[in-house]
């Protein structure tokens, strides 16, 4: 199969890449994150912004189009990935889409996210669509395999057809305050990605403080990543609203200083339709409308789609839905 990437095939097409900056340690060390204040603010998105009725339906569709539909299990098989990709192509039952007046819109998920070995299967299953394949990389989830192999893994995944690479950072560089090492590592990962877009997974549940989250976010953006992402989904604490607000504020600061827009991907633990609305509100409030598109915002999720499908059917029929009425992904 053809593994070269045509940027115009991607939802991220036309979006300028982040060229990065030299490491600005003064900026990094200047970052502040007051946890209690961030928690208070984070608690308000759901309460201050209520999205109802048709707006809710539209927003849930938007959540789907910003979704990295994900399977990252040891028991993944090609057939399993094929089924997932089929779901990515048709995430919502056509009759529901039709009832929503979206029959003529091409609604797909933002991407499919898999392990390296599943890239070819995913590419095959998604042929003819614009849905990119994302691969987790660099010794996911712990990121503690030999450095040389981690860089090589990126190259091999890109060669295998991955259009997006989700790397994991070395948490130890954050915890020991070695920002230069973190920068150098991510910079090299970024270069290894070539034309493939790079998302840096911070594993925020393992960074100890929100201030570390803010600093690591800045360092990764300076190193040139296209997205910063919360979690592998394997930590005991994954995406949370306070962590998201901290990272999103870092993105805003980066844009204010450089003019460059970096994307955000919360991952792990977002399983309810209602949660996805809150995240979309957070993005809209803090970063504005451009961050409600898959080129700048993704959910890393596996079970979220099912809940959204049920909500959409309820919106259409007025009757609460059930799992079995929607095709398995």
């Amino acid at each position: 199969m053809n593994t070269s990437i045509n940027p115009h095939d991607l939802p991220v097409a036309g979006h300028p890449r982040n060229p990065g900056l030299p490491l600005d340690l003064e900026w990094v060390m200047d970052a502040r994150a007051n946890r209690s204040a961030i928690e208070r603010r984070a608690a308000t998105y759901g309460a201050r912004r209520s999205v109802k009725k048709d707006h809710q339906a539209a927003w849930l569709i938007k959540a789907i189009s910003c979704m990295d539909l994900t399977t990252l299990s040891g028991d993944d098989t090609e057939q399993r990935v094929k089924r997932l990709c089929a779901k990515a192509r048709n995430p919502v039952r056509p009759d529901i889409l039709h009832a929503l007046g979206l029959g003529d819109r091409r609604i797909t998920t933002g991407a499919v996210c898999v392990y390296h070995e599943m890239i070819p299967a995913a590419r095959r299953a998604l042929e003819g669509t614009n849905i990119p394949v994302a691969a987790v990389s660099t010794g996911f989830p712990a990121g503690l395999s030999p450095y040389r192999l981690r860089v090589q893994e990126i190259r091999e995944s890109v060669a295998a057809g991955a259009q997006e690479i989700d790397i994991v950072i070395s948490r130890r560089h954050v915890l020991s305050g070695n920002w230069q090492a973190l920068y150098d590592e991510v910079r090299e990962f970024t270069e290894a990605c070539g034309d493939a877009h790079i998302k840096a997974i911070l594993a925020t549940g393992e960074l100890g403080t929100l201030r570390n989250v803010a600093r690591a976010s800045l360092v990764c953006m300076m190193a040139g990543v296209d997205f910063i992402k919360t979690s592998t989904g394997k930590e005991s604490v994954n995406a949370t609203l306070p962590v998201s607000l901290t990272m999103v504020r870092a993105i805003r600061e980066y844009r204010e200083r450089t003019g460059i827009s970096v994307g955000y991907k919360p991952a792990g633990g977002i399983s309810k339709a209602k949660d996805s609305l809150v995240y979309l509100s957070l993005m809209k409030e803090e970063l504005g409308r451009p961050w409600l598109e898959p080129n700048l915002f993704r959910f890393g999720a596996s079970s979220l789609l099912g809940d959204i499908e049920r909500q959409l059917e309820h919106h259409v029929t007025g009757r609460y839905s059930a799992n079995f009425r929607h095709p398995i992904g």
Binding site: R32, A33, N34, R35, S36, A37, I38, E39, R40, R41, A47, R48, R49, S50, V51, K52, K53, D54, H55, A57, A58, W59, I61, K62, L100, G101, L102, R105, G208, T209, L210, R249, R252, L280, K284, E285, R289, L292
Partner: protein, 787 residues
């Protein structure tokens, strides 16, 4: 808009809260509400007036206008109910608990009614006001249960007349009613004219909760009705929240009535951002501070003080944030700012902003479209406002913020305190050293560190200076609704009359002068007055003090602020030293007392001994009158700090010239206050002998100042003085009334004897925590935390 279009625009749309239950409630009442008196609704003697929804101008209902006969009836019912209500704390606890439960059960109806009547966003009435109301009743149900053990020695004040504002109608009701009922009082409450509905719904809940008849009475009406309540002879306690102007009027009109008074008034609270703050979070803090409840919050952080290095960056962030605030229909769950409470208020805001612009403020408003009818005003920031500008000094009571810059922490404090008010302050810094240095220096009753507008029933709220006095919430708030049990038994002070001079005392003439700033100072008047014994012996002369001596004494006391900064242990050493040196001269003082008062040698020795004992008591207390850390439900340390009041004028009793004076002085200075004392009129010499003791006791200059002279004349000067923070008065009933009336200008705290004499030898009456409470202001400092 189709779903497809929304998918492209990603707008929020509207999310209206239903008003149907609330409208049904209004319908059931025929859109007309009577007065709630003695457990039932009854028609007013006066007429009715309309209450409007400020968001659309539609009339919601007619509200009764209570006149004097109605208020009489309410006070009579409250009086009759008070005795039985006070009997059983456990029973009161059950009733307050039932009220808390009912508020929760009917929470949405209460929230919707509040929003319809007041214009505040449904989100805030639902998520802030009503939950805090329930919390207040729960918390105080607990205090009712614990009153017997925790408030031993105290009894209810009696009937409380309470007048509340329109900005948090039901919440202010809860702040007033819950502690009053918990402590065994009954209430006559007057809601704000424009926002009476939630109080009337609350009256229905009182019936349902089994509140006995007459315990809660709600009389609606305008300011006249408020005046009738606060000035009614049958009211023992007045609690008012509202404007400083009305608060001042209430202070004047209740002076000398013996009514206990709490005033929670205006503010111009500072919001300080230091250069090491989390700026994005501080921006949200500003939103919470000034764009909460349309800025119609007495403690709104309305003066933004920015440290120079971050000022421009902060303003840029704030401007961007202003654009995402949504102003609109308060019943829409997705808006941030609702309707201003009335047309009158809206016009006032417009006028004040115009003044701000005319005086050179740089106007920044978000460019969003406001609803085309109803009372709406956009979030507004005026930059580069000087502290001399009207908007930096006057309360707007709207969504209007002014900003200025500072260079150093000291300058931040100076600017923060450069106001007549002293309600609240906010400061943002990631540096705990800085936070704990600044918080105590700010003149305010509440300080929020890295947060704003945090409230809880367990933490006291209230101000200093022209923001009023008294606290609501917390243990400190309970004392506003109780009095010491012994006060009922106190007898009027006896007038002491002395004969004309018949003979001169033997020995060298010693002429005591005033004692100011640690030095003897001749009275400015140049006149002296004789001191005569009961047998007509001329014992000496003392200066005839005047306004200028008081002025000088207050200056000296103000300058001695180092005393407040000294730790309790250090102050205790000085007080013990005074006691030690007084012991050495005990016989001399006893003789002096005998000479002046005619007391027997035994009685005089007893007074001296009791005086030494009293000094030891407050030497003991100096490092033991601890503050508290309140148990608030937020993840926050809420520190209730006992701070000295400042400069206190002590008008000392005529009787027991040594013990009476020391009974007032010792607790005051033990807590770090500086005092200006006017000693016993007929028997001033013991006080004057005392300054020789002070001079050998390491008491810093200016901590204690003594001016002799005509007591009430000097008391008036002290009560009038803007630089005096409190006056304690022991003298005639007329003098007490005069002090209270004169204090209205500065709204200083007062503690007067109402013409009643205490038994200074009785420790219950003459010393203890009651004195320490009057010698301190409680400041609640909120410090949220999290790594």
């Amino acid at each position: 808009m189709t779903i497809s279009e929304i998918l492209d625009s990603m707008e929020y749309g509207i999310a209206p809260e239903s008003n149907s239950e609330a409208m049904a409630w209004l319908e059931r009442n025929d859109h007309r509400f009577n007065l709630f008196i003695d457990g039932a609704f009854c028609t007013p003697n006066g007429g009715y007036f309309d209450t409007l929804n400020p968001a659309d101008g539609v009339v919601l209902a007619q509200i009764a206008q209570a006149n004097d006969a109605d208020v009489d009836k309410a006070v009579t019912a409250a009086r009759k109910a008070q005795g039985p209500w006070a009997k059983d704390g456990a029973k009161r606890a059950r009733v307050l608990y039932a009220l808390a439960r009912l508020v929760q059960k009917h929470s949405r109806l209460l929230a919707v009614v509040e929003t319809l009547d007041n214009g505040k966003p449904i989100r805030e009435s639902r998520d802030v006001d009503i939950p805090l109301v329930a919390r207040h009743f729960y918390h105080h149900a607990g205090w009712a249960q614990l009153m017997d053990s925790e408030m031993a020695g105290y009894v209810p004040v009696g009937v409380a007349g309470q007048v509340i504002p329109w900005n948090f109608p039901l919440l202010m009701l809860a702040w007033k009613v819950a502690p009053a009922l918990a402590m065994g009082n009954t209430v006559v409450l007057k809601p704000a004219e424009t926002t009476s509905l939630s109080a009337l719904l609350f009256a229905e809940l009182c019936v349902e909760a089994g509140v006995p008849k007459g315990v809660v009475n709600i009389v609606t009406g305008d300011g006249t009705t408020g005046g009738l309540v606060t000035e009614h002879d049958g009211v023992d306690k007045v609690a008012f929240t509202g404007s400083t102007a009305v608060g001042r009027l209430i202070r004047e009109r209740t002076a000398g009535s013996g009514k206990k008074l709490t005033l929670e008034l205006g503010g111009k609270s500072a919001f300080m951002v230091f250069d090491d703050a989390d700026l994005d979070s501080a921006v949200e803090g500003v939103v919470d501070a000034i764009w909460f409840n349309q800025g119609e919050v007495c403690c709104a952080g309305s003066r933004l003080l920015l440290q120079e290095p971050i000022a421009d960056k902060f303003i840029a962030k704030l401007r961007a944030r202003m654009d995402t605030l949504r102003v609109g229909d308060p019943m829409d769950k997705s808006i941030d700012i609702g309707a201003v409470a009335s047309e009158v208020q809206l016009q006032r805001i417009r006028d004040m902003v115009a003044v701000g612009v005319a005086e050179g403020g740089e106007l920044i408003q978000s460019d969003q479209v406001l609803p085309n009818h109803g009372c709406f005003f956009p979030p507004t920031l005026l930059c580069n406002v000087e502290s001399s500008a009207t908007l930096a000094q006057e309360e707007v009571f709207g969504p209007v913020l002014v900003s200025m810059t500072f260079r150093t922490p000291a300058e931040a404090v100076a600017l923060a305190n450069n106001t007549r008010y002293g309600l609240a302050a906010t400061l943002w810094t990631e540096n705990v050293n800085l936070a704990l240095d600044i918080a105590p220096q700010v003149k305010a009753g509440v300080v929020w560190v890295n947060c704003s507008n945090q409230f809880d029933a367990a933490a006291g709220f209230g101000g200093v200076r022209e923001s009023g006095f008294g606290r609501e919430g917390g243990r400190e708030g309970l004392f506003e609704y109780v009095k010491p049990a012994f006060t009922a038994k106190l007898k009027p002070v006896k007038r002491i009359s002395l004969p004309e001079v018949k003979t001169r005392a033997e020995g060298l003439d010693r002429t005591p002068k005033n004692y100011i700033g640690g030095k003897q100072a001749r009275p400015d008047s140049g006149y002296s007055a004789p001191v005569v014994s009961p047998k007509g012996v001329l014992l000496g002369h003392v200066g005839k003090g005047s306004r200028k001596d008081i002025r000088n004494a207050v200056e000296a006391a103000t300058a001695a602020k180092g005393w407040a900064g000294m730790n309790g242990h250090g102050r205790a050493q000085v007080i013990y030293f005074i006691a030690e040196n007084l012991t050495a001269r005990a016989d001399e003082f006893a003789r002096r007392i005998t000479d002046m008062t005619g007391a027997s040698a035994k009685e005089a020795a007893q007074e001296v001994e009791a005086t030494i004992d009293r000094l030891f008591t407050y030497g003991a207390w100096a490092d033991k009158y601890d503050g508290a850390v309140h148990s608030v439900p937020q993840r926050s340390v809420a520190i209730a700090m006992q701070e000295p009041v400042g400069v206190i004028g002590l008008i000392c009793p005529d009787e027991m010239p040594l013990l009476g004076l020391v009974s007032l002085m010792a607790p005051a200075i033990a807590m770090g206050n500086r005092v200006v004392m006017v000693p016993s009129g007929p028997h001033p010499l013991a006080a004057m002998d005392l300054y020789q003791v002070f001079n050998t006791s390491d008491l810093p200059a200016g901590v204690v100042n003594i001016v002799t002279g005509a007591k009430d004349e000097l008391a008036k000067v002290l009560a009038d003085h803007y630089g005096v923070d409190s006056v304690w008065y022991h003298g005639s009933a007329e003098g007490a009334a005069m002090v209270e009336a004169a204090s209205a200008a500065s709204l200083k705290r007062t503690w007067v004897n109402d013409g009643k004499a205490r038994d200074w030898l009785d420790r219950t009456q003459g010393e203890g925590r009651e004195y320490l409470r009057h010698a301190t202001n409680v400041k609640n400092i909120w410090v949220p935390y999290g790594a």
